[in-house]
């Protein structure tokens, strides 16, 4: 939304120039420089080495695990986010404020602590540790733990995105649909969903970026077993600590690509949402 600034409250060209320069320097130094560095480090030794690093078996396994974790966590949180936002925005009930606070919790808690929570629950000495061992199930230091931790950390994204939008829309349109004889499911599918689709997409994209990039929580529960419980971000750490700089930055460049795609999609969705008048 571009509003024209009245001339009487415009800053002098000097002030404007100085502030824009500071802003550009900040963006350049803090945001663009790291991206440029990842690219030069990844490709600096030639394209073959870059491809080799990506073709490496452990890197491939890490990529598969990252995609798997995101493929489970994102749809689960989509389902949960839509239903939680629906409950909070369209109905009145006791404990609503508590539910809102709980939804925000993974944002407020350090990812390391989120991971720790799962170790305390499902680890060998945890609450369910004995039971899990008796049934020969492994959660911590195995794939289920990684998926659980990812779900926990990305849990607020869709819900947070939808709650304000659905609250702003109120229940008028749904009530009209019900009066006209629509069933609950029809109302949701034909009335509610079209109204929130851009917000849903926005939330899903941010949720996905975080799910694929999560480091702290996953690092606690993963156990760092190469080829088995290593996600891409953890693989970057291992390579970096072994001084395999080119390989580390090559894998990092994959994750950076994910970030860039996320930002582009986000910008496109925001433009479309603004265009359709429903953010």
């Amino acid at each position: 939304m571009i509003k024209t600034v009245p001339s009487s409250v415009q800053d002098s060209p000097l002030v404007r120039g100085v502030l824009i320069t500071i802003a550009l320097c900040f963006v350049g130094l803090m945001l663009i420089l790291p991206m440029a560095l990842v690219l030069t480090q990844a490709l600096g030794q030639g394209f073959t080495l870059y491809l080799d690093a990506l073709r490496d078996e452990d890197a491939q396994a890490a990529l598969r695990l990252t995609l798997l974790a995101a493929a489970i966590a994102v749809p689960a949180n989509l389902l949960f986010g839509v239903s939680a936002a629906w409950c909070i925005a369209k109905f009145e009930f006791k404990g609503k404020q508590l539910l809102l606070t709980l939804i925000d919790l993974p944002f407020a808690v350090s990812p390391v602590i989120s991971g720790l929570i799962f170790v305390l629950l499902f680890g060998l000495h945890g609450w369910f540790g004995e039971w899990l061992r008796a049934h020969d199930l492994k959660i911590i230091f195995a794939v289920p733990g990684i998926v659980l931790a990812t779900m926990f950390v990305t849990f607020p994204f869709v819900a947070r995105e939808l709650i304000p939008v659905m609250q702003a829309q109120g229940t008028d349109e749904e009530e009209a649909a019900t009066t006209l004889g629509a069933s609950g499911w029809q109302t949701f599918w034909r009335v509610t969903l079209p109204n929130i689709k851009w917000a849903v997409l926005h939330g899903v994209i941010l949720c996905n970026a975080r799910a694929m990039g999560e480091f702290g929580a996953v690092s606690v529960v993963s156990g760092h077993i190469r080829g088995l419980t290593n996600t891409l971000p953890l693989h970057v750490e291992i390579l970096y600590n072994e001084y395999q700089t080119v390989a580390a930055f090559s894998v990092a460049s994959l994750l950076m690509l994910l970030a860039v795609v996320t930002l582009v999609l986000k910008a496109v969705i925001e433009a479309k949402a603004a265009h359709s008048g429903r953010v």
Binding site: S12, L37, L116, G213, S219
Partner: protein
């Protein structure tokens, strides 16, 4: 959600209060708290200044590259923290792009608390910009115009008219950046050097304890950290409520 969280608290109570206190008041733990909260505070303050400036520039001025800048602000949200960590470590290391010039002046950035602060600035900047920006966008020019008509210069009307209206958003942005900075792990560990007593952060200390199978210790530190974070978030919430009340009375 509730069960896992209460699990941490109960587990901490299991060991008894005395051992809990002994763990969290050990010198190494206290030092880690100081580093974590100190760096997060400095980074959040710097982010507040630059965040307001960026939001102002993005909302009020038109210049080439504005939309790109706007989109890039969200990069720290989208970029995995481990990637940010290794990139910042390489840039600010003594042989890195920026680090070599700092080294000429005898300043070490990476692997010191300064490196941690820079990582936290990177992580926190979108929080301030994205909370202040919408408020600036929806702000009416009428009050500012009135101030100008009454003879205020631009700086006066910014300080006395615009800034007071921004304060709740600025405080919220500051609080969010600060809270994120306290918990941040991925981007910090690469650039911190992780020396006990000097540049070791609390989340890393938790992981170290876990790797030594000291679950009770890890848990005690985590509970203390949760407690401090909650108290601070509460204080900031009260501060905001107070600002809003002052606003509505005016």
């Amino acid at each position: 959600m509730l069960i896992p969280l209460s699990a941490t608290f109960l587990k901490a109570a299991e060991g008894g209060l005395a051992s809990f206190w002994a763990t969290i008041s050990a010198p190494r733990v206290i030092a880690a708290y100081r580093v974590t909260f100190g760096c997060a505070l400095v980074a959040a303050l710097i982010n507040t200044v630059f965040g307001v400036l960026l939001a102002w520039v993005l909302v009020r001025y038109r210049f080439p590259g504005r939309r790109l800048c706007d989109a890039l602000i969200d990069l720290p949200f989208a970029l995995p923290t481990a990637v940010a960590g290794i990139a910042l470590a390489a840039i600010y290391a003594p042989k890195g792009w920026v680090g070599q010039y700092a080294a000429d002046w005898g300043i070490k950035i990476a692997f010191t608390p300064m490196g941690i602060t820079i990582a936290l600035i990177f992580i926190g900047i979108p929080f301030v910009v994205r909370t202040v920006q919408p408020v600036l966008e929806s702000m009416d020019f009428a009050c500012e115009e009135a101030a100008t008509t009454l003879g205020a210069n631009r700086w006066q009307s910014f300080r006395l008219v615009v800034l007071p209206a921004l304060i709740p958003a600025v405080l919220t942005g500051f609080a969010l950046a600060f809270a994120r900075g306290i918990g941040e792990y991925g981007s910090v560990i690469f650039v911190a050097g992780n020396m006990p007593m000097v540049s070791e952060i609390v989340p890393l200390l938790i992981i170290t304890k876990l790797e030594q199978y000291d679950y009770a210790g890890a848990n005690a530190i985590a509970v203390a950290m949760l407690g401090i974070s909650f108290v601070m978030l509460l204080a900031i919430n009260l501060l905001q409520a107070w600002t809003r009340r002052a606003e509505s009375q005016r």
